[in-house]
């Protein structure tokens, strides 16, 4: 009678999809069982081969042009939408408007319960800076993987000296730095890469009294992390998965 790990469960373990209790069970089994641990190593080898060697097909320039063209066309041909009153003749404009107003109140309550209004604005600013840096071909002002090049570059450009960390060996090579504008002030943006994912880290001197712990604030498929430490604000934005982005945050706070 064998007591090997069920195949599917080993894959879920590899994918980080098991709860803590089951993960620990498998971990301790792998330490004892040669067959299963060999199988697990094979799966890990397959994953790292796929991630490091498989081609990633980026959207060609022509596709981006076609996309722009489509939007231009849509902007020209779309007519203003019919008033909602027409399709809901039994509802007066007043009812519709007050309904919309009520929804707005509910929505704003829901989001502000766990974020301060200032933070709401900042999350938005951080995210749009992140997205813009990916879209507009303006990712970096200084391109270098060397922190001794990136850190001095900010001298004279901003009135503080950002902490720049070398996390290359941990799998987060530095791509470069950039000057950005958030919260009505110039800030330092540091760009890291993790496989094909780009990570923006924004930092500037904080005006908050006490230190804030790390918090995750997500929006539209992106993760945003925020904390303050030693008088500085730190904001991290990326589409990288939570697990690995948390690792970067942890390394940065060390």
């Amino acid at each position: 009678m064998n007591d090997h790990v069920e195949q599917k469960r080993l894959h879920s373990y590899l994918d980080g999809e098991l709860d803590l209790v089951r993960s620990l069970e498998i971990e301790s089994h792998l330490q004892k069982c040669q067959d299963c641990s060999q199988e697990y190593r094979n799966l890990q080898a397959l994953r790292s081969a796929i991630r490091s060697k498989l081609p990633y097909y980026s959207a060609p320039a022509r596709l981006r042009e076609r996309f722009d063209l489509m939007l231009e066309k849509a902007a020209k041909t779309e007519k203003p939408r019919a008033r909602p009153v027409k399709s809901w003749p039994w509802l007066g404009v007043g009812v519709g408007a007050s309904l919309a107003f009520a929804l707005m109140i509910i929505w704003s309550l829901g989001t502000t319960l766990w974020r301060t209004p200032v933070e709401n604005v900042l999350v938005g600013e951080v995210l749009s800076s992140h997205v813009r840096s990916l879209m507009a071909n303006h990712l970096t002002d200084v391109v270098s993987s060397d922190l001794h090049t990136v850190k001095p570059w900010f001298n004279g450009r901003i009135d503080f000296s950002p902490t720049v960390k070398d996390l290359d060996t941990e799998g987060f090579p530095l791509v470069g730095g950039r000057l950005d504008y958030i919260n009505n002030r110039p800030v330092a943006a540091l760009v890291f890469r993790h496989r094909q994912h780009l990570i923006n880290l924004f930092t500037w001197p904080t005006d908050r009294g006490k230190e804030e712990k790390v918090r995750r604030l997500s929006q539209e498929g992106y993760s945003v992390y925020h904390w303050t430490k030693a008088g500085m604000e730190y904001w991290v934005a990326s589409d990288l998965n939570t697990e690995e982005l948390q690792e970067l945050v942890r390394l940065y706070r060390e």
Partner: protein, 182 residues
């Protein structure tokens, strides 16, 4: 929402994920030209339904549309690419447990996978059924969770799990077979 505002919001939502969309389409249909057409068509569809999008996970939303568009295209142009695979598990657990271990699991296999070159891996992945290939891409390249994949492919979580397991196993077998031939 004003049309101009809608368009600019759409652009902002879609552009960051255009690479992911193209990569998925490219792996589904396996050539550049058709992948471009599919992403373009998916963007049209996306724009049409953008007002129903609730703004939660834009990448997953776009990839689901790309995937559907890709499948529609395959059904029409290359129906043979879509073999219906059975998602049923083998009747008992024991069959699924480490059954292939008995055949061949050894250090050399790990080495072999580590030394597989890009071309070999690409061919192996392209040889997988589309249903396995897409979950592999979404999991390994896009690093999506089972839940996200289940949403994109419109399949239950358990099916995501078993397709991943079977896809990986087939990849290992292809690589082992080719190595012997080579």
């Amino acid at each position: 929402m004003q049309e101009a505002e809608k368009l600019s919001r759409f652009e902002e939502a879609i552009l960051p994920h255009l690479d992911a969309a193209y990569n998925l389409a490219r792996w589904l249909v396996r050539n550049d030209h058709d992948a471009e057409d599919i992403v373009q068509e998916a963007c049209y569809r996306g724009l049409k339904y953008f007002s129903t999008f609730r703004g939660e996970n834009c990448r997953a939303w776009l990839l689901a549309i790309v995937r559907n568009t890709g499948y529609d295209w395959l059904k029409q142009k290359r129906p043979n690419d879509l073999v219906t695979i059975s998602d049923e598990d083998p009747p008992t657990d024991s069959v699924e447990r480490m059954d292939h271990l008995a055949i061949e699991t050894s250090n050399p296999e790990t080495l072999l996978i580590q030394h597989a070159d890009q071309e070999m891996l690409k061919q192996a992945l392209e040889a997988l059924p589309a249903e396995f290939r897409e979950v592999m891409i979404l999991r390994e390249i896009e690093e999506m969770s089972y839940k996200e994949i289940s949403g994109v492919c419109d399949i239950p979580l358990g099916t995501v799990m078993s397709r991943l397991a079977r896809g990986r196993k087939q990849l290992q077998q292809y690589l082992a077979k080719w190595n012997k031939q080579g």
